[in-house]
C-alpha cells in the first residue's frame, strides 16, 4: 500500500468513526427519546411539555440541526489534518 493510500484509509476510518457516533445520537433522540422511551420520559414534565412528547415534536429536530453543524466542524478539522482541504 502506498503512502497516499495509507493516508486515504486512515482518513476514511476517522470519518466512519465520526459517522457512527453522530448517527448513534441521531437514533437516540428520535427513535429513542421520541418513540421507544416516550412513555417513560412523559412522566417528566418541563414547563407544559411532557418530555417524550417534546422530544418527538421539538427536541429531536433541534438536535438534528446541531448534529449536522458538529459534523461540518469535525470534518473541516479532519480535512485540514490530512491536507484534503483545498
Amino acid at each position: 500500500m502506498s503512502e497516499k493510500q495509507k493516508k486515504a484509509t486512515a482518513y476514511w476510518k476517522e470519518n466512519v468513526k465520526y459517522l457512527f457516533i453522530l448517527l448513534t445520537i441521531w437514533f437516540l433522540v428520535s427513535f429513542g427519546a421520541g418513540i421507544l422511551l416516550k412513555d417513560a420520559l412523559d412522566s417528566i414534565t418541563i414547563g407544559g411539555f411532557k418530555l417524550g412528547f417534546w422530544f418527538a415534536q421539538q427536541g429531536a429536530i433541534y438536535v438534528f440541526v446541531i448534529l449536522i453543524f458538529v459534523y461540518v466542524r469535525l470534518m473541516n478539522k479532519l480535512d485540514k489534518k490530512y491536507q484534503y482541504n483545498d
Binding site: S30, F31, I46, G47, G48, W54, I61, I68
Partner: protein
C-alpha cells in the same frame, strides 16, 4: 383594504419578483441548466433546498394533520427533518465529490451499467411525477379560495409561471427564485404563528408558547388544556397517539430514508463549489427547514384549541364569518344530526356533526384568530411560494432525467451541448403540461401515491447510493437486484393494502403490524439484504470502479460538476 385586495397585491408582487429573477438568471449552457453552473454559495443553496423541500404539503397541510393526529403527527416532524442528517452525513458530500449532474448518473457510473441507469431513471420519474401533481393541485386550491378564481384557472396560471422560470432559467433560474420563495414562505408562516402565540400565551416565540401557560390567568398549561378538551370530547389525549410503537417507528424511518433518497433534494447538492460547501449547505438547509418544522406543531396546538373553543357546543347561528366562508369551499361542513342548533364536535362518528379538512388549520388560522387582512393575504402568497418552488425543483429532475440520462447517455451520446439544452427545455415544457393535467384532473389516489413516493425512494435509491459509497466491493448485480426487489416489494404492499389488489387486506393483515406508509423501511432492509446476498455469488466490480469509490471518499479536488 379588504383581504381580496391585499391578496392581489401580495401575490402580484411576489410573482413579479419571481419572473424578474428568472429573466436575470437565464441558463446559457447545460451546466447552468442542470446544476446552476456549479457555483452556488452554501447559504443560497441552503435556502433554495429548504424552499424546494417544503412543499404545499409542509406549508398548508402538515400543521393541520398534526392538530388532528396529536402525538402521531410526530412521524412527519421527525421523519422529514431527520432525513437531512442522513443526507448530510451519508450522501451529499460524496455525491458532490463524484460531480455529475443527476442521481441516475451516479447509479449508472458507479454500477457500470446501462440497466442500473435506466432503473434509476424510471424511479426518479415515478417519484417526481407523483409529487408534482400534488403541488399543482395546491396552487389551484390557494387561488380558488383567496382570489375566487376557478381551481382550473389557478392551475393554469401556476403552470405558466413555473414554465416561465423553469424552462428559461433551468436550475440557475430555479435556485434564485427559490431563495426568494423561501423568504416569502417562512415570513408568511411565522407572522400568524407569532401573533397567535402572543394572543394565547403572551409568549412571542411559538416554540415556547406551545409549552407555556394560557393568557387567561387560569395558570393552566396550554397542552394540559388541550389534552383535557380532547378526552372530554372522546378523542385520544393530544400528547398520546393511537398508532402502535412499531408503526410509528417504521413510518418515521421510511420518511427519513425516503427524504434522503429523493432525487430533487439530492441534486441540489451538485450545485455548490466544493465538498465542504455541500456539508455546510445541508446544515443550513435543515436549520432553515427547522424554523418551520418546530413552529408547525405549535400552530397545530393553537389552532386545535382555538377551534374547539370556538365551535364546540356553540349555537350554529352565532358562528363567525370565517365559518361560513370555509363552508362554501366544502372544506368545512356541519350536519345538525340531533337538530338542537348547536355544533357537537366529538370523536364518536355517529354523533359528530362537524367535518373539518386538515388544510383549514393553516389557511383559516389567521381568520379564526381575528388577525388583520394583510396577514391572511400573506398566507396565500406563502402557500403559492411553497407549491411553486417544489414544483419547479421536481420539473427540473424530470427534464434532466429525460434530456441528460436518457437522450444523452442512452440514445444519442454525440448530441451537442446546445441541442441537449433545447431537449431539456422541451422536456420541461412537456412535464409542466402533464403536471398541469394531473392538477386539473387529480387522480383519486394522489394522497396514497405521495406516501408511495417516499417508500419508493427509500426502497430503491437510498440503499444503492449508500452501498455505492460505503461498500467498495458492491457490484452491479447486487445493486440492481436490490433496487428491483425493493421497488417491487414496496409496490406490491402498497397496491395490496391501498388499492385492494392481490386480494387486498385490512389493518389486521399488515405484516408485522406495519402500515403501507411505513413499509418503505421494510422494503429498504430487503433491498440491503438482497444486494449483499447476490454480491456473494457474482464477480467483484472492475478495478477502475473501485478506484472511483476510493476517490469520492476524499473531499479534495472536487473540481466542477461535469456531465462528460
Amino acid at each position: 383594504m379588504s383581504v381580496q385586495t391585499w391578496t392581489y397585491i401580495l401575490v402580484g408582487l411576489t410573482f413579479a419578483l419571481y419572473i424578474g429573477i428568472a429573466i436575470w438568471s437565464r441558463a446559457g449552457s447545460t451546466k447552468d441548466f442542470y446544476v446552476a453552473g456549479g457555483g452556488v454559495s452554501p447559504l443560497a443553496n441552503g435556502m433554495a433546498t429548504a424552499a424546494d423541500w417544503m412543499s404545499a404539503a409542509s406549508f398548508i397541510s402538515m400543521a393541520g394533520i398534526i392538530s388532528f393526529a396529536g402525538y402521531d403527527g410526530s412521524v412527519y416532524l421527525m421523519g422529514w427533518t431527520g432525513g437531512y442528517v442522513l443526507l448530510a452525513l451519508l450522501l451529499a458530500p460524496y455525491l458532490r465529490k463524484f460531480g455529475k449532474f443527476t442521481v441516475p448518473d451516479f447509479i449508472g457510473d458507479r454500477y457500470y451499467s446501462k440497466t442500473a441507469r435506466i432503473v434509476a431513471v424510471i424511479c426518479a420519474l415515478i417519484v417526481s411525477f407523483t409529487y408534482v401533481a400534488g403541488q399543482m393541485r395546491g396552487v389551484g386550491v390557494v387561488f380558488s379560495r383567496f382570489l375566487q378564481v376557478d381551481i382550473n384557472t389557478g392551475v393554469i396560471i401556476g403552470m405558466v409561471i413555473v414554465l416561465f422560470y423553469a424552462v428559461l432559467g433551468g436550475m440557475k433560474g430555479i435556485t434564485y427564485t427559490q431563495v426568494a420563495q423561501y423568504c416569502v414562505l417562512i415570513f408568511a408562516f411565522m407572522v400568524p404563528a407569532i401573533f397567535i402565540s402572543i394572543q394565547m400565551t403572551g409568549n412571542p416565540i411559538p416554540q415556547l408558547g406551545m409549552g407555556a401557560t394560557l393568557n387567561d390567568g387560569s395558570g393552566t398549561y396550554l397542552l394540559e388544556k388541550l389534552d383535557g378538551l380532547s378526552t372530554e370530547l372522546g378523542f385520544n389525549e393530544y400528547t398520546n397517539g393511537s398508532k402502535s410503537i412499531t408503526d410509528i417507528f417504521a413510518i418515521t424511518l421510511a420518511l427519513m430514508v425516503g427524504t434522503a433518497g429523493l432525487p430533487h433534494v439530492i441534486v441540489r447538492f451538485f450545485t455548490v463549489k466544493k465538498v465542504k460547501d455541500a456539508r455546510k449547505s445541508a446544515g443550513l438547509a435543515l436549520l432553515l427547514i427547522a424554523i418551520l418544522y418546530t413552529t408547525a406543531p405549535a400552530v397545530a396546538v393553537f389552532a386545535k384549541t382555538n377551534l374547539i373553543d370556538t365551535v364546540s357546543n356553540q349555537e350554529y347561528s352565532s358562528m363567525p364569518v370565517w365559518f361560513k366562508n370555509w363552508e362554501e369551499t366544502g372544506l368545512l361542513s356541519f350536519d345538525d344530526k340531533n337538530e338542537d342548533g348547536k355544533i357537537q364536535y366529538v370523536a364518536d362518528k355517529v354523533k359528530n356533526e362537524l367535518t373539518i379538512d386538515n388544510d383549514i388549520m393553516v389557511l383559516a388560522n389567521p381568520e379564526i384568530a381575528n388577525l388583520p387582512a394583510w396577514v391572511i393575504a400573506l398566507v396565500a402568497a406563502g402557500g403559492l411560494a411553497a407549491a411553486l418552488s417544489t414544483a419547479a425543483g421536481l420539473l427540473l429532475v424530470i427534464s434532466a432525467s429525460v434530456s441528460h440520462d436518457l437522450v444523452k447517455k442512452v440514445f444519442n451520446p454525440n448530441i451537442s451541448d446546445k441541442a441537449e439544452l433545447w431537449v431539456a427545455r422541451g422536456s420541461a415544457t412537456v412535464a409542466v403540461a402533464i403536471a398541469g393535467y394531473f392538477g386539473i384532473n387529480p387522480p383519486g389516489f394522489v394522497a396514497a401515491v405521495v406516501a408511495l413516493a417516499f417508500g419508493l425512494a427509500a426502497a430503491s435509491f437510498f440503499p444503492a447510493i449508500v452501498l455505492g459509497i460505503f461498500y467498495k466491493k458492491m457490484n452491479k448485480e447486487g445493486a440492481i437486484s436490490g433496487m428491483v426487489v425493493g421497488i417491487l416489494l414496496m409496490l406490491f404492499y402498497m397496491t395490496k393494502f391501498k388499492f385492494g389488489w392481490f386480494g387486498g387486506g385490512t389493518q389486521d393483515d399488515w405484516w408485522f403490524g406495519i402500515s403501507p406508509e411505513g413499509f418503505g423501511s421494510i422494503a429498504m432492509i430487503a433491498n440491503f439484504i438482497v444486494s449483499i446476498i447476490v454480491l456473494q455469488f457474482t464477480p467483484e466490480p472492475p478495478e477502475d470502479v473501485q478506484e472511483i469509490v476510493e476517490n469520492i471518499r476524499i473531499p479534495s479536488g472536487a473540481g466542477e460538476a461535469t456531465g462528460h
